[in-house]
Symmetry: D3
Subunit: 248 residues, 6 copies
Amino acid sequence: MRILIVNPNTTASMTRRIATAAERVLAAGTELVAVTSSMGPASIEGYYDEALAVPGLLQAIRQGERDGADAAIIACFDDTGLDAARAMAGIPVIGICEAAVATASFIAQRFTVVTTMERSRLPVEALVHRYGMGMRARVRAADIPVLSLEDPASTARERLCREIEIALREDRAEAIVLGCAGMADLPRQLQNEFGVPVIDGVAAAVKQAEALVTLGLSTAKRGAYAFPVEKTYTGMLASFQPDVAPAA
Amino acid sequence: MRILIVNPNTTASMTRRIATAAERVLAAGTELVAVTSSMGPASIEGYYDEALAVPGLLQAIRQGERDGADAAIIACFDDTGLDAARAMAGIPVIGICEAAVATASFIAQRFTVVTTMERSRLPVEALVHRYGMGMRARVRAADIPVLSLEDPASTARERLCREIEIALREDRAEAIVLGCAGMADLPRQLQNEFGVPVIDGVAAAVKQAEALVTLGLSTAKRGAYAFPVEKTYTGMLASFQPDVAPAA
Amino acid sequence: MRILIVNPNTTASMTRRIATAAERVLAAGTELVAVTSSMGPASIEGYYDEALAVPGLLQAIRQGERDGADAAIIACFDDTGLDAARAMAGIPVIGICEAAVATASFIAQRFTVVTTMERSRLPVEALVHRYGMGMRARVRAADIPVLSLEDPASTARERLCREIEIALREDRAEAIVLGCAGMADLPRQLQNEFGVPVIDGVAAAVKQAEALVTLGLSTAKRGAYAFPVEKTYTGMLASFQPDVAPAA
Amino acid sequence: MRILIVNPNTTASMTRRIATAAERVLAAGTELVAVTSSMGPASIEGYYDEALAVPGLLQAIRQGERDGADAAIIACFDDTGLDAARAMAGIPVIGICEAAVATASFIAQRFTVVTTMERSRLPVEALVHRYGMGMRARVRAADIPVLSLEDPASTARERLCREIEIALREDRAEAIVLGCAGMADLPRQLQNEFGVPVIDGVAAAVKQAEALVTLGLSTAKRGAYAFPVEKTYTGMLASFQPDVAPAA
Amino acid sequence: MRILIVNPNTTASMTRRIATAAERVLAAGTELVAVTSSMGPASIEGYYDEALAVPGLLQAIRQGERDGADAAIIACFDDTGLDAARAMAGIPVIGICEAAVATASFIAQRFTVVTTMERSRLPVEALVHRYGMGMRARVRAADIPVLSLEDPASTARERLCREIEIALREDRAEAIVLGCAGMADLPRQLQNEFGVPVIDGVAAAVKQAEALVTLGLSTAKRGAYAFPVEKTYTGMLASFQPDVAPAA
Amino acid sequence: MRILIVNPNTTASMTRRIATAAERVLAAGTELVAVTSSMGPASIEGYYDEALAVPGLLQAIRQGERDGADAAIIACFDDTGLDAARAMAGIPVIGICEAAVATASFIAQRFTVVTTMERSRLPVEALVHRYGMGMRARVRAADIPVLSLEDPASTARERLCREIEIALREDRAEAIVLGCAGMADLPRQLQNEFGVPVIDGVAAAVKQAEALVTLGLSTAKRGAYAFPVEKTYTGMLASFQPDVAPAA
């Protein structure tokens, strides 16, 4: 089984840490392919970055599927381009936010997602709501620029811990979800430090992707995720013109 | 006052009909600038097209703002790229779906949106829910390819009427919202034909855009719509690298 | 186009300030008729006042429609008698609360309504919920009697500002909605003072009323807003006996 | 214990049937006072009638409280004026819709309310939602004018039975709530006929009113139901000017 | 009329206090039978205790019904085994949580339930939500072990009062619901002390049980509460094998 | 890694089919232990059976944990006793309904659960709602007694297929969830037959259990899932008296 993980943030050091976290939980026999998107923002912070990260992400998933991936993971906590990727691809696609909150739902009744910047708080809150956990999860921002997580000299980890403490006290969180792919190296340490389950979406998504492949399940192609309709694409993005849709 | 209306479907004939519908309801003293996006799909049908229409849309709004527009309208019923555009722009941005359902909410307790293709039904349903009308509005698809609305020989209008009849009978709809920018020429005829209010989002959005400008209101730049953070953009989309954010 | 605005608080000085705020945003060619209700409470604070303000309000709208108004606005933030007025009238009727929250929804993801008295907080909260903004808006009361807004010597403005500060800090409000028709003179000053969008329902409702008239839309007369059925009315309110309903 | 029941429909024959239904379920030692409102519509069908029935209703409750009633019931299924009456009165006030749906909630997971006219369907649906039963109850209209229930020669009973059959089959209703005070004489017969629990709000409200009195509970006067504030009332409704509020 | 009240906590002193509270509100002619469950936990604190209290509870209700009870009450605030009991029994069954929150809904718009232990807070919150009061009620735990309420020397009452104070101040609660059957002796004292309505579920449930019997209503046997299907039960619980279901 | 799967239906042939389905998807290195509960109903159909299946289920999980299981699965689609088991156990516990709907959420926007008997429909619907999929999933009953699935001569499979057809046509389901552990042998056949993803909860739960163990995650012991408090248990169930809770 081959799992593709795409980092839609165009920062290769971040992809390496994501890959390390993913490899730690791979089942025997699973191969991981980690790819950095080749176009778009260095980090995704808010709606504008998110929108412009999507073409590069889609390109990487399309290429990965052609190269034989059995499932794809989008390694950004705002589940960038998830719906478009699901419609485009014939293989299952998993977002790390959806994987993280589904996993949290099996071990805690109330949990808190701690994400990076205030401008990402409401987009993540909307995802949590969409995934059916609006009544069970709170979302907090620790005021951490995404790329500061790449910098060992930054205070990002301290800020994250401070926000986790607030979540445990004020939200009565029973578990913590780390709300950024750039935090994928931290869950075990933080779990030891705080004595509550700490969930990283990257590792969670790997297990969900493996699960879907083993179960023989892929995206339903009936309804909103039907393959794109053939049509003309113009301008800079003409290369994204959809292939002829596979027969249903 | 200058209102920019961008058609993110890269089909100029559709833009012309949109402009005609918009001009019919302009207040005295409002100037309309109608623009066809220069890159992306000829028509937006589902998540994949929608995602790839966003860069062209953002480019057109950025240019329009630089050229002096006071407000911008996104003329596609899935409110393509609305959040990204609001974060990017200093002027207010209105989606035709949100304008249409807000307008419908003032005249009917229950209404039905009739959109084009089945693959657009759930995305529009999610918007209607996001705009707070999930309990009051139904969404139906009439099985009409978007570009067939450009073709006078197609049966698009018949299919639309058939679905409106079903909505009136089965949903007990009190009003109808036309769920595609390509239907912007139809509301008055259909209103006469069916004897219930029929709302087109293009015209509705023009009035909302004018309202915001007159009221001196623009997008709140505190929270999720804060201007994008400066950072490196790479690859084909490098030209979208955000400007230095204006001072708050 | 003639817009009727009815103040269901029987206090003429308040009507004058409402009219001033409304006139400031009128489109060229719109005529405003501002009327004070002739029966009921001097100010509407809570459910009891609200119920007893409705007959006077309905009378004024009925008269206004006979005199040629194209749309009517109810200038009290609890949208007093809105459903009854919509059922009675052949012209569109807009409440200032619904207009304000719809307008806020186009420029902010989260906003706070600051109303007058604690006893009005839950009724306004119920409206905000009904208008689909329950997840996006908070309601606060600044402990301001309505008529103190008529008195330049009162501390009403200070209390309002104090509550806005709390809303910005604790609710992370991105915009503020002024929750009383008696605050219609304040939005521009407060917007300058706090640096966030501040929305007044009176001005917002004027633009919505104009929009409906221009768009050729009026209340759907199918369903709950059908014209009242002919029947006997007795006692003090016999004069409210409905006319023969116009043909559909 | 003395229970006041007010029929806000100004039709005395209807009040007599309501009183008969109420008396059938009175506890030993409870006295019933049934009153017809002295002003307003002969029957309440839709928002307009409802609004104009409120002053007469409030007057009757105020008088009843002065005459020693321990609790009051509003005998119209749209719970006409309930909030205003609760704020005004020092005694508990119960609506027949809220009593019926609370009672139904103890014996069925899914139930259907069958009301009279289509124009009353959405108002009742809004009540059911407000009372927290939106996920558990459906509302249907049997197309029965309220006063036809007073006429033994009408087909009202047949239409009601037809709609109950549809509710049992299509909604999989486990119980039926009769959605009009004018149906208060029917529950036992219909229960026998259809073999499912049938709930009448008048009788249900009597038991809830008795319960509150026995439990020593009355409306909370903190918050939205605080006694009305003293102020000037003008015009035809000046007599409704609130008394000095009792000390909290 | 004979009302059975079962205490699923196997602590007889608690049952005696429950019986005293219940008797205080009985209607003339109602007989009360109070029973302590003969198997399971001494007190119910959390999901595990709750699950293991159910067999004893069901046994007591089955016996009570055979002995002629007209209705049954489950005297534990997590409404232990309510659904199973309703399916099993031919008589109506009332939980004290559902009775308390329905009663509170008639006298307050916002109220707070104060329960015992933190581990019971979320289960009670889920009940409140299920009963449709999720938007209107908050749940707080006062950190009181259930059996400490049996001990006059404990600080349970102080802790309860402290939490009520917080609820009045921070939740703006208009009324308080006591969230444990072991608090059934306290409502009148606390009502005097705090000046807001205080509701005990035991007394509330007695009145609801009487109401259902008087109204001739019992659990709908169509749908989820249909009598259990005949089948083999094995092992320690074989005696619970359902009887042949009565004819519908 | 050792996964315990407990069938709370006391029917060994059903457990064998469950084990077969589970083994088909085990990761290399995972050992499966399948256990039939030793007390309670032969099949779980509705609330009464469900409640009386819990003690046997808890006993089996407690024994399995002592024998070294790393995670436990409850193999009944009503997720019988899930909360009690989570509170009791130190290892993670997964229900097959929650696993199935979480898995479905990754591949379809709208799906339908097809369960056995009408009396199980509402309990499953409540679970689907609790798991956050109330807006995305429908629940249907195919009128199949659970044990008929053990009988190759029954028409159970035909009835199931008929209901799937209805779900695809009327609910526009994009995927089907099989709503009974006794259907665990069917997903691949049905997926081929209907051409849409078909999800079995048993296999889905195996993958979720493996995922939690690999991720080093277990039930949060802070809040509602804290270990049971020590106390006296009496009567037939005295052996369930909780052990001293492990140190947090």
